[in-house]
């Protein structure tokens, strides 16, 4: 009888969860499609018409931006995939001395918002005044290297996407049975032939999914093209949507939605292809046991691998950080007179403090909500029926289609058109909801990985010992993965703090986060002040990380004191904050992750 009652109660909860997931993920997509056929801006009375579609498709800009976006998606997809393969290979297969640096480096790059790279490379690549050009000039080379336009966007996006690809690939690369290569060598194939006939085809599914993910992000990314590409006239899909909704007078929301609809269709098709084509070909799981043998002895090629790592570290992390920090101290960009003027000006700015508080709220509360929601869906998915699991899995794919600016646009429609929600527009809540939706995929992956480490027996023994499913969930599972939850919270908070694509259309001065303010300062030409504000943001994030790190450390210290095997599971689950073997491919809101 108890089980029946429990069953009914949990069924109610599951229904509520499904409804919530539906509202968060499905409604925005529906509203975007609805918006594409409206004559009036969101919330105003209007009719259904095809004006939005005709506006969007009669505009010649649409086709050039479509071409640009495809170009960017393909090029960045190819280069990021190639880089990711190279790094995964170096780490898993060679004895290059610096290979141990790669994973931490990639983790930092992955966690850093693309807005940071856009700002930093915008400054770095400024002719004459950028750090890079100052260095070039100092050694007598022409100091006119400009990171801008399509190649600039491609370059910066590749650096960023490489880290995402790396984390998708490193698991399969490490899991690949080395004997497969050895068997090929014994059969008489050299290393090159072995690479072509064995390594490449075995890794093909994983590599292909990296390409598809990079392609989708390349198609939708807004901040890098906006800051680096547009000043030189390089317009892409996302910047065009941004223009329709933000810069056209009056804003043409219908045209923006029409473009967004194309994008949603493309992404749904790609995800479907990926799902059907690749997910059932899991080659890397076919392997027996066998010790992990030594990596390839590279001999004199070691230096090349080390050089690749050093160059990447410089371009993707060291130089941008130096540039942002230096820039923040230069009242006039490129003039090496340093002062704290930017910071004092920021503190005097009445917009800054509220924005910082908003961002802190978004990051802390939004991060916690996203983690809690992901944990809940992951737990339900773990215990639910197959159909339920499939449904939840599908809904976790949906954010693929509504990311970044499109999510922002979708939420504008949702909140202004649905009567009950209209009062929330312009408040902190709407931005918070947008950011939670945008970051659940990241949090979800971390939770999946964490839960995968908790053996089913641990739960079952709790149930057998008399714990209800709720007590088992809270007392055993949640307790065991608490460190992972904190880590996921941190990662999600960082994503949210750096996200400006979602709030850009949603925020008004009252609810705008720092990231939007940084962008606005940058647009106004206050590049060094924007850098200074970003330094403040980074400082806050580092503080948050330290606090959470200390908490996690305390918990871990306590958890590992009893000698139970569960303690090991708890500590082990701290690691997959950036899961190396994703149970489903990375979902991102803006190429951030």
């Amino acid at each position: 009888m108890t089980s029946v009652r429990l069953f009914n109660r949990s069924r109610l909860g599951i229904a509520a969860l499904l409804a919530l997931v539906g509202i968060l993920y499905v409604l925005p997509i529906a509203m975007t499609v609805y918006g594409a056929f409206r004559t009036a801006p969101p919330g105003l009375p209007g009719d259904f018409s095809l004006t939005g579609l005709t506006d969007a498709f009669a505009d010649s800009r649409t086709y050039s931006t479509l071409g640009n976006s495809l170009w960017l998606a393909v090029m960045a997809g190819l280069s990021a995939t190639a880089l990711a393969v190279a790094f995964a290979w170096i780490v898993s297969r060679t004895d290059a001395a610096l290979r141990r640096l790669v994973t931490p480096l990639m983790a930092v790059v992955l966690a850093t918002p693309p807005l940071f790279f856009s700002l930093a490379w915008n400054l770095l690549g400024t002719p004459k005044f950028g750090l890079l050009n100052e260095a070039l000039g100092a050694v007598g080379l022409p100091d006119t290297l400009a990171v801008t336009g399509r190649w600039g966007v491609w370059f910066v996006l590749s650096l960023k996407l490489c880290s995402l690809g790396y984390f998708i690939l490193i698991g399969p690369f490490l899991a690949m049975d080395r004997r497969l290569e050895e068997a090929s060598l014994i059969a008489g194939a050299g290393r090159l032939k072995t690479f072509v006939h064995v390594n490449v085809p075995v890794m093909a599914p994983a590599v292909m999914s990296v390409f598809i993910i990079a392609f989708i992000i390349g198609l939708i990314v807004l901040d890098i093209p906006l800051i680096i590409g547009r000043p030189a006239g390089f317009q892409v899909f996302a910047t065009q949507i941004f223009d329709f909704a933000n810069n056209d007078i009056p804003p043409n929301y219908a045209a923006a939605s029409a473009l967004a609809m194309i994008f949603i269709a493309v992404v749904v098709a790609l995800v479907a292809i990926k799902w059907r084509l690749l997910d059932r070909r899991q080659f890397t799981t076919v392997s027996g046991k066998g010790a992990r043998p030594e990596p390839w002895d590279l001999g004199r090629w070691t230096w090349l691998c080390n050089a690749v790592i050093v160059v990447y570290a410089l371009l993707a992390l060291v130089l941008p950080v130096i540039q942002i920090v230096l820039g923040s101290l230069q009242p006039v960009f490129g003039i090496n007179r340093f002062s704290a003027d930017n910071f004092t000006a920021l503190l005097d700015d009445p917009q800054v403090m509220p924005a910082l508080i908003n961002t802190a709220q978004y990051a802390v509360v939004g991060g916690a909500l996203a983690v809690a929601l992901s944990l809940l869906t992951a737990m339900v998915g773990r215990h639910g029926s197959l159909r339920l699991r499939r449904g939840l899995e599908l809904s976790s794919w949906l954010p693929w289609a509504v990311q970044g600016i499109i999510l922002g646009l979708a939420l504008v429609w949702t909140f202004l058109s649905v009567p009950f929600l209209r009062s929330l527009f312009g408040t902190v809540t709407i931005v918070l909801i947008g950011l939670v939706v945008a970051s659940t995929p990241v949090a979800g992956r971390a939770m999946d990985a964490a839960l995968a480490q908790v053996g089913r027996e641990l739960e079952e023994s709790a149930r057998v010992s008399g714990a209800s499913s709720l007590r088992m969930g809270v007392g055993i599972v949640a307790r065991l993965i608490l460190p992972s939850c904190l880590a996921a919270w941190l990662i999600t908070a960082i994503q949210i703090a750096g996200n400006f694509e979602v709030p850009i259309l949603l925020s008004r001065p009252a609810n705008q986060p720092v990231a939007v303010l940084v962008y606005q300062l940058n647009v106004q030409g206050e590049v060094t002040r924007a850098a200074a504000l970003f330094v403040l943001l980074l400082g806050a994030v580092v503080c948050l990380a330290l606090v959470l790190g200390a908490v996690a450390w305390l918990i871990r210290g306590r958890a590992s004191s009893p000698k139970a095997p569960t303690a090991r599971a708890a500590t082990a689950s701290v690691t997959p904050t950036v899961p190396s073997i994703p149970s489903r491919p990375a979902l991102t809101n803006s190429g951030v992750e």
Binding site: L185, A187, G188, A189, P201, V202, V286, G288, E294
Partner: protein, 363 residues
Amino acid sequence: MAAVTIRGLTKRYGDACVVDGLDLDISDGEFLTLLGPSGCGKTTTLRCIAGLEKPDAGEILINGKVVVDSLGTFVPPEKRGLGMVFQSYALWPHMTVKGNVAYPLKMRHTPRPEIASRVRESLETVGLGQLADRSVGALSGGQQQRVALARALVAQPGLVLFDEPLSNLDARLRASMREQLQLLHERLPATSVYVTHDQIEALTLSDRIVVMHDGRIQQVGTPTQIYADPANAFVADFVGFENLLPGVVVKADLDQVVVQVDGFPEPVSARPTGQPPTAGEKATVVVRANAFSFTPTPSVENTATPSGVPAEVLTAAYLGDQAEYTMRVGPHTVRVRTPAPATARPGDRVSLVPQPGALLAVA
């Protein structure tokens, strides 16, 4: 056909010396097994022969040709013309059964029609002719093993290496694969080097067995020699001598030594294996559990009969057609196995009699 010569082979991982100055001659067409517990260096030795590891010192000749030496010669694995069966099978998951087996021939630039016929032939040999177009992921463990075998043999290499090929199979399958391997080796002219930790595999398959421990050779011999005349206590233990009784040699002849086993009332005679020890040296008397018989001792006061050793039964277990006992003899616990039914019970005092010639004295 290929003979293999190994001289002074040494391989270290950091401080650990995994193979320590190993010398070995493997003759043409021989089936040689490297036998030993895990970590003894047998797999490393095999991988050095294959060219998958570079030794730190020593040289290896295959068919008289130096493939690796300390002067810097190193023939890579793909140029050594070998076949190898891996413990994990190492079948390429993106190829069909046929594709896997054809691969070594393709790499040797065999003409296409010949590849087809030899692949078919090779798959027939291992009994998988009808599965040629399957994906390897769809096969059972035993079938995967046979594909790996077909792939190793298809190019008719002079030397085939086996790295614990049967250890992932269940006991029944292992026995039948063992028989198949034996038949194959008899039919094919190749030299085989086989690594295992399973003494049954080693005994049934090999022409010669090399027992290894801590990177060194403990004994080289035919299966009969290894089984019946272990050279030292380690080999005896490894090939299943249940009882190892340390003692001191009292008297030594060429074919008979008398050893005073610690705690035994009287010295016992044993047959020395290998170099006979001299009096005063330490020696271990080894004896299999099934080489004993015993008679009940009527009363506690009664001492041993002239040929028996007094013992007390500690445990008795019924194993179907056999009965197994542990018995206390002085400070030792001796394992005894006799045909069933069990005739003694815990607490009984018995007189333990080894079969003639069953006691061996080893170094």
